[in-house]
Subunit: 343 residues, 4 copies
Amino acid sequence: MIKIGIVGGTGYTGVELLRLLAQHPKASVRAITSRKDAGTKVADLFSSLRGKYDLAFADPADVDLASCDVVFFATPHGVAMAQARELTSAGVKIIDLAADFRLQDATVFEKWYGMPHACPDLLAEAAYGLPELRRDAVRKARIVGNPGCYPTTIQLGFVPLLEAGIVDTAHLIADCKSGVSGAGRKAEMGLMFSEASDNFRAYAVKGHRHLPETLEQLAPHSATPVNMVFTPHLVPMIRGMHSTLYARLTRTDVDLQALFEKRYAGEPFVDVMPPGSMPDTRSVRASNMLRIAVHRPGNGDLVTVLVVQDNLVKGAAGQAIQNMNLMFGLAETAGLTALPVLP
Amino acid sequence: MIKIGIVGGTGYTGVELLRLLAQHPKASVRAITSRKDAGTKVADLFSSLRGKYDLAFADPADVDLASCDVVFFATPHGVAMAQARELTSAGVKIIDLAADFRLQDATVFEKWYGMPHACPDLLAEAAYGLPELRRDAVRKARIVGNPGCYPTTIQLGFVPLLEAGIVDTAHLIADCKSGVSGAGRKAEMGLMFSEASDNFRAYAVKGHRHLPETLEQLAPHSATPVNMVFTPHLVPMIRGMHSTLYARLTRTDVDLQALFEKRYAGEPFVDVMPPGSMPDTRSVRASNMLRIAVHRPGNGDLVTVLVVQDNLVKGAAGQAIQNMNLMFGLAETAGLTALPVLP
Amino acid sequence: MIKIGIVGGTGYTGVELLRLLAQHPKASVRAITSRKDAGTKVADLFSSLRGKYDLAFADPADVDLASCDVVFFATPHGVAMAQARELTSAGVKIIDLAADFRLQDATVFEKWYGMPHACPDLLAEAAYGLPELRRDAVRKARIVGNPGCYPTTIQLGFVPLLEAGIVDTAHLIADCKSGVSGAGRKAEMGLMFSEASDNFRAYAVKGHRHLPETLEQLAPHSATPVNMVFTPHLVPMIRGMHSTLYARLTRTDVDLQALFEKRYAGEPFVDVMPPGSMPDTRSVRASNMLRIAVHRPGNGDLVTVLVVQDNLVKGAAGQAIQNMNLMFGLAETAGLTALPVLP
Amino acid sequence: MIKIGIVGGTGYTGVELLRLLAQHPKASVRAITSRKDAGTKVADLFSSLRGKYDLAFADPADVDLASCDVVFFATPHGVAMAQARELTSAGVKIIDLAADFRLQDATVFEKWYGMPHACPDLLAEAAYGLPELRRDAVRKARIVGNPGCYPTTIQLGFVPLLEAGIVDTAHLIADCKSGVSGAGRKAEMGLMFSEASDNFRAYAVKGHRHLPETLEQLAPHSATPVNMVFTPHLVPMIRGMHSTLYARLTRTDVDLQALFEKRYAGEPFVDVMPPGSMPDTRSVRASNMLRIAVHRPGNGDLVTVLVVQDNLVKGAAGQAIQNMNLMFGLAETAGLTALPVLP
């Protein structure tokens, strides 16, 4: 059994890790920390866990994380990098669900997250945890930066087109829609039921932190410079993310359906839908599956890619476990085979 | 492996059976029928099942259900009883998720469902599939009538009080609230998003088919005659059921918390919450767990019992599988251990 | 035109007052205060008001409320009573949407709200602002305590039965369901979209502040002592309140439908629905109408009353304006005639 | 008073017309027809109308529409054109909320709606009812084709850019999101609460009927040919539409904010928001207002325009009344001044 520690387990990615790990055949959660809720049983905070977890949140100071095989950081940005050196020195692997190890350029990190990076050398060795694009690196990594939710969908949607070199990469458009849980478990006015329900709006149109991450990761897949307009929107639903991607085709003689099917052949968690499909977010609810459909409306020179995932699973906790499986030589799908919950 | 047939698999209980059985260690779904959708792959109707089920809906005429070990009927009322004799004669066990084998009195069935009962003799031998109250009968049964969703919560909430003989059983009140999926997968005006969303209403105040079923089942647990007012309401949520039960105490010197805890000690799917709890429906979402809290507001002579379940799982498909497990001597929890999905 | 001041206008009752008063033929909002948002234009906080209100929130210290004809307090409990003496001395009428002038017994107020009452003498002269029951008192009042949202539905639902003396008044049951906006515009975890959506739960089962208020107001309508169990629930919808009321009939020979129709004949904002009706909350959305249906299920000795209202209108801001109309001798319906928004 | 007839009043645009016209100072609804619901009182079908409308649905055969001043058609496509000649001959003005008089090219109509046009000559004289772009034509028209909901937002969002000649008009992108009521009041599986709630999806990616209408109307505003990719999506909310529009700038030295503000200066129902704004759909809920914000993300050469409206008001019934006001020489805002309902 893999001994697991979770730092900062009171948010949605934390409780989702607990839910998924409870069904994992090789996982044993040994410790979960929370400064604020130390002493509270996890099942008292999240009654869905009653009967399955007897564990209580522990004060970080009281926990010997060095005895774990792997530590997940489900914390705000900045926490994982502060503990990464000590843990990796002790032989503990790290999977950070925040942004500390996502951006490969420390100056870009500092610009967008407003803090210096605590360990640029570890950043350099960290793997970006999108298995479909970085599987080998993840397998060998001591530290994995788990991707942002939006970037996962945008990269998997655009990469086949970029690798084929058939789109204008300087004017990509990502019109993305996320369920409210993507904003985390925090009491902010705009996320209240009476504010977010029966409502739809864009946000962060000027610039969202997932933009530099996406651009950085897309670049090596493209022979030409990549630029993008990214518009995130808030959907009145709890879970689910739908990215509608647009690009101008520089060639229209390529079979797009075949291109995508070939690129993701054999991928256990990427489902290229049949031609004409319009996937709905609930088709992946509570599962680690991501579904893609590719369209060329009116047979014109614009391609439209539709991508759906559960932002808390493939967009966060599920992908983190997928990475863990790779890092420990387990079956990549271990603990992640439950079907989506529909309706 | 248990060979399973599902008759009428295009509704919510059908797709929920498929979801749950996919995770069951001993289940093998061999056939699923639908007259209307014969030939369609189940994964084409429910994209959540893509990659896991290659099965297509079959015309009932083309399927040899007699070769199954058990057949689930996820059909409208009246279908199971028409096929019950033939199947049981062939040694096939039956679990009906409709009402054909719920009401033990055939005349009551005819009154509320507007059709004569096709096989009153089989009705007499059928077990009412609420394991917490009828476990032994279910174990031995060839035919199980799976309870209605509301009756499951009402019975489990009232039975400890009735058995203890401490309430006025002639004036029970069940104020129940159900998510919209409880009405089934059918295109009715009142169930449309634009009608049911951001709205709340009672329905069937004059009389709901779950009332006679509940009264019939409660009677043997009470030394005095049982009568009840039952008010179902429609909640703008997909899954989930919350029953708020009221009874007048004839004795106020009984420790209600201890009474409930003792009654359900050891039950894997009934969670008696700590004193003062107010369970929310999402704490059981997509799981087979049912949670109960008992209150005596203002220390008066009225007892309030709060019961939550997922109407499609413990209220339908999950309970049906729990019954199957008992009928085949499996662990009662087999295939039903996944944690609730929260948020 | 009536010169109006609003104290504390950044909550839902504040913005609802602004919305309704904009359509009122005799209302002129002169000032609106908010300590926290002083200087911000109301239309910058609530973009729905753009183009209609040029007003900015003012610091309470900078506003001459004494020059208003009436001041609405849309504030937390305790604010109105601190300013009541000064304003009434200056000839300003007061309508408090919080609890300061609801409870007539100051000791009950202190017990439930945890603070001493600042002006028990003014409390004694204040009118309880439920026009259908206290119209004459409201007309003459300098100070009106606007009722709580739940108490409005419970009182209007039970009063005909109590006045007729045909129910067991010691065991009333009010099973009430409210949209989330009833909790106010505040960033609390339990009110977040991801927590409250697709979920249903009871709260405050042990005791809710609206219970003593309701009991105090019901008492004068009953020849026998009144006691009640009150269970509030949170519904995943923005607006709307549905109260399901139960009482044991001591006489079953009374025509309940006629009783209710007669009691509310001529009331512009109480709609007694035809026999067999089950009103939905959206039928009153955004309007000041309250609808009632009365049932006797199974012709038994329990009566069920269904009451719906918009918690922010008849349950708060609309009723406050109805009271203002009475206090200033206007048509009671002035500014309140807009139809409900459906769907 | 203007004598008004409504043909086909049982859908959402019908009930919305009734709601809005009840507040209109010059409107008198004389007749409303429905073949299916003839004889039913409108207030029995829509309880929100109780007390305000005593009218019953009439069989079309029994109604003398020729005595009306104007007839609104809130019917499926094809109904208005069948009655247009007779009514206009009788001096009755017509406002069609379906598509019969939207497309100016009868062959395009036949292609997209699958039926021949019944009166191409009347089509030629009909005005396209988007007042902000066709005010003079509407004023003089006997027949108005009320625009589709999506086209209203797309046209008002793109026109300033097209008229200024500063975008690549051959590759416009309209990523649009609509609340479920936009699909009408009909019992279809995909529109059921349990299917559409907590879900997000694109639809009609291959081609939506609002595309040819939009292209036809945009053309005269552009010196270069217009082409567009249009992706509609279904949002789990009742009302509201959010269009996110993208275009490549051919010049980046134009002050976009000033361009939009100037274009819509004085428009009572178009609100150009301040720079940096991200309007939410609820900011126009139940009102005839449409709000626009224009962005140039990263100061690049792509412009993003955000447009919100209530699909049932500015996108349908409200705009129809705005057209009626113009056709009858009334104040354009008559009956349309109610503020949005928020929250």
